[in-house]
């Protein structure tokens, strides 16, 4: 018989509709306390008891009727959270130990019901919007056939991308921190070659080009060459080509000597190092941007490729921006990874909410076009990593890999720090920039770290000569 153990510790009225507060630690612990523990016994089988079981779960977390409206709100938010965790719980663990697709389906159906119900009354709250995306993500784990693919057109994507940049500092933080490190490193060089792991729209280089053109040392701007990695596939290649065209046009408009080339990854996402043209006398920089909201998930193979490339080419500078997570408890499989993803996007949602509370349509667009697919991907990744007999270790970030491989940390300057803080300060004071070592800075929302920017150089060369 399945036991449902619910720990309802903590003061419910202390919650707000946001999931991260300045007393973040308390809330995080409280959330962990409240997540339902479902203890499966090996004897469980069959679906006869499902309906009554799910009713039991849902009834137990139905709030009391007499509480006030705000608490009701919080309770609703909590209820959604509980249901999400419950369905994740149902999906985790090895199949023979009670992992139940059916239970998950039922819970998810109930979740959708709740969300639709409340949205008929009024427009969705922050929490509800988040919950919907997670529900969809979880659903696609249960139904193999349903794919909530990204159906946004190019126009939508660009608009959403623009809005995202206006609403949050995530993208600019990564780009500007890397650019400043690059500018400082190539101050005396006449030719620069940048290998870009994931160029996307190329926005980062527009800013860099402006910087190069505006150097007031009396010399003409140094020549910039960008080589972009292009994943196999017609659409990807076309996108990269288009980005290249745009960058060339932009460079022409400001008078920056520029050339662009792309290097295609093969069908298994591997990069052949010999395909990259390296010219003597050029300052070589490798730029790796990952996990920015608008960039889709890239395979491990391509990451390994780029790191091998870095090892073989010994570039002057390597700039890395990737997600940063809090320490995860080991060995809990899908549930703990899922929780991590959930907390992460709760923080993101809160950050959007804090800055732009009433921008429902604009935010809705950003959430749908940009974050929705990211959530789906992250949940799927978390699931795949926890699935099966062998649980994969927590994914090691590029920064850590470079560290282990012996690359030298490259100090992030005072100027760069200042810039990062000024930048995030423009958006909202809830964003925090913190140093995490001499060559790393972390952007976070309140107390939750979100993005890590780090700068490295090759051990062979010494910078600053």
């Amino acid at each position: 018989m399945m036991e449902v153990v619910m720990d309802e510790g903590g003061d419910i009225s202390g919650c707000s509709s946001t999931t991260t507060t300045t007393i973040d630690d308390d809330l995080n612990h409280a959330l962990a306390d409240w997540s339902p523990l479902i203890v499966h016994s090996p004897m469980f089988s069959g679906t006869n008891n499902l309906p009554s079981l799910t009713e039991t779960i849902i009834d137990k977390i139905t709030p009391n009727k007499e509480v006030g409206v705000e608490v009701e709100e919080d309770n609703k938010g909590l209820r959604l959270l509980h249901l999400l965790m419950a369905s994740a719980e149902a999906l985790s663990g090895p199949t023979n130990k009670g992992k139940s697709n059916d239970l998950a389906k039922v819970i998810l159906a109930r979740l959708k019901e709740l969300l639709v119900l409340s949205s008929e009354i009024r427009s969705p709250t922050n929490m509800e919007s988040l919950a919907l995306h997670f529900t969809k993500a979880l659903e696609s784990l249960t139904y193999v056939s349903i794919s909530h693919g990204n159906t946004a057109g190019a126009g939508d994507f660009l608009t959403a991308f623009q809005l995202l940049q206006d609403m949050s500092p995530y993208i600019k933080f990564g780009h500007f921190t890397a650019n400043q490190a690059i500018i400082e490193s190539v101050a005396c060089d006449r030719r620069i070659h940048i290998i870009d792991y994931d160029i996307m729209e190329g926005v980062q280089w527009a800013a860099l080009m402006q910087d190069l053109v505006s150097k007031n040392d009396g010399l003409p701007p140094p020549h910039l060459r960008v080589t972009a990695l292009a994943r196999a596939g017609c659409k990807q290649v076309i996108n990269v080509q288009e980005t290249g065209r745009r960058l060339i046009a932009f460079a022409n408009s400001i008078g920056q000597p520029f050339s662009f080339s792309q290097c295609r990854l093969d069908s298994s996402d591997k990069l052949c190092a010999s395909r990259i043209k390296v010219v003597k006398g050029e300052a070589l920089v490798v730029n790796i941007m990952r996990h920015l909201p608008h960039s889709p998930h890239r395979s491990q193979t391509s990451i390994s490729s780029i790191i091998n490339l870095v090892a073989s080419l010994s570039p002057r500078l390597i700039t890395v921006v990737e997600e940063e997570n809090e320490e995860m408890e080991k060995g809990e499989g899908f549930i703990s990874r899922f929780r991590q993803v959930l907390h992460r996007y709760s923080a993101v949602w809160d950050s959007l909410e804090a800055g732009f509370p009433m921008q429902k349509i604009a935010r809705g667009m950003v959430e749908k076009v940009i974050f929705g697919p990211r959530i789906a991907e992250d949940v799927k990744m978390a699931f795949e990593r926890s699935d099966g007999e062998m649980e994969m270790e927590k994914e090691i970030g590029v920064a850590e890999k470079l560290n282990v491989a012996g690359f030298r940390p490259e100090k992030i300057s005072f100027f760069n720090h200042c810039q990062a803080r000024l930048l995030v300060g423009l958006f909202h004071e809830g964003y925090r920039v913190e140093e995490k070592g001499v060559n790393k800075i972390v952007l976070g929302w309140k107390s939750r770290p979100l993005l890590l920017a780090s700068v490295w150089s090759s051990p062979v060369r010494s910078l600053g000569e």
Binding site: S123, D211, R246, K360, A362, S413, C418, R421, L422, E429
Partner: protein, 371 residues
């Protein structure tokens, strides 16, 4: 070596050593061992170079030498100067240019009999001056940061603008012509997808619904920066030392542009930011006060001479509440002038975004910013 000579040099400094100016423009003394004189200009160039390279910790004598490009300047000169700069202690000789220094000299000269006590007093004054210069150095650097950040944000904005324009040209205008001048937004937003956004709505894609949503969205989404910045532009004449000219220019151009937009039936290309502006600025029924001031002015980080690594020391500027009217220019003005400590500035993101929207049209170059 300098420091041990301090007292004696102070007393003797009224007899300035003879200086010659070399071919390279460097001022050397005519001691038996020629020494480089760090004049104000030379020091300024040094500071510029160091800032460009990312601060005193990041710069090295070699890179500084290259960036400064001054003939006759050797690594030794730079090494020692950089070290002193890093420690925040200005080279003693530099005080010669400073009138405060002259006071100190006068003090020293007049009471030469009480040298020990004066030495102490002068040491304290020197300390104070040093700290002040350190603070000024930091402030200067932060101003640099601000300038560069602004330029970078604008460059990105310009680029995004060009992308959006190109995308707009390839998207056909939708059949929402009933929305009148709102249809300009169509080409940017590709509205059919808005129907998808009605995930929570009972009936998806009801046109009237969408119209309401669109009106609201245009109110919510894109106008704030214009309102805010237009106002800021008008009332704020000199937000930054070096960029005083700009907001005024943008405002005039904004108004001109709006006239242009208002008279056109179908502007061929512009960003969604610009196109919303005329239709809504002109609309009478809009309750501007109800729009939240989402692009608030943000206080800049205050200089903290002790800890550049300490983050959370915000200045004590009173931040506007989100519900106040964006047109309250007086409040913004007073925040900038009255309420701030001299070491902080207000940087409104709304203003920056506004810059971004227009920079493409006015072909913003870096030189415009650094007048």
């Amino acid at each position: 070596m300098f420091h041990s000579k301090k007292p004696t040099t102070m007393n003797n400094s009224h007899e300035r050593p003879m200086c010659v100016q070399g071919d390279s423009g460097l001022v050397l003394t005519t001691d038996p061992k020629p020494r480089l004189r760090w004049t104000v200009e030379l020091h300024d160039r040094f500071v510029d170079a160091v800032t460009q390279l990312g601060g005193p910790d990041k710069a090295t004598p070699k890179t500084i030498m290259r960036v400064m490009g001054v003939k006759g300047l050797t690594l030794y000169h730079l090494k020692s100067h950089l070290q002193k700069f890093r420690l925040g202690k200005q080279p003693h000789k530099e005080f010669n240019e400073n009138s405060i220094k002259e006071d100190m000299q006068r003090n020293a000269a007049s009471s030469s009999g009480m040298m020990p006590r004066n030495m102490n007093k002068n040491v304290h004054i020197t300390e104070a001056i040093r700290m002040q210069m350190e603070v000024q150095r930091r402030l200067h650097e932060q101003l640099e940061v601000q300038k560069h950040l602004q330029m970078r944000i604008e460059a990105q904005g310009k680029y995004m603008q060009s992308i959006l324009e190109k995308a707009c040209q390839t998207i056909t205008v939708d059949n929402l012509a009933t929305l009148g001048n709102m249809k300009d937004m169509n080409s940017q937003m590709s509205f059919p997808c808005l129907q998808d956004l009605h995930i929570y709505g009972g009936n998806g894609g009801d046109q009237i619904d969408m119209q309401k949503h669109m009106e609201r969205s245009s109110l919510d989404g894109f106008l704030h920066n214009n309102d805010n910045s237009c106002d800021l532009g008008k009332k704020r004449s000199d937000p930054y030392g070096s960029n005083g000219k700009n907001p005024m220019i943008w405002t005039d151009d904004l108004l001109r542009f709006q006239d242009q937009m208002g008279s056109q039936e179908e502007p061929s290309k512009s960003s969604s930011h610009l196109q919303i502006a005329p239709s809504l600025m002109g609309a009478s029924g809009i309750d501007i006060d109800s729009m939240p001031n989402v692009y608030e002015s943000k206080p800049m980080i205050s200089t903290d001479s002790g800890g550049e690594n300490k983050r959370h020391g915000r200045s004590s500027i009173e931040r506007p509440s989100p519900r106040r009217s964006p047109l309250d220019g007086e409040r913004i003005n007073s925040m900038i002038r009255g309420g701030t400590s001299p070491q902080t500035r207000n940087l409104s993101y709304g203003w920056l975004v506004h810059q971004v929207s227009y920079s493409h049209h006015y072909k913003l170059k870096h030189t415009d910013l650094t007048t």
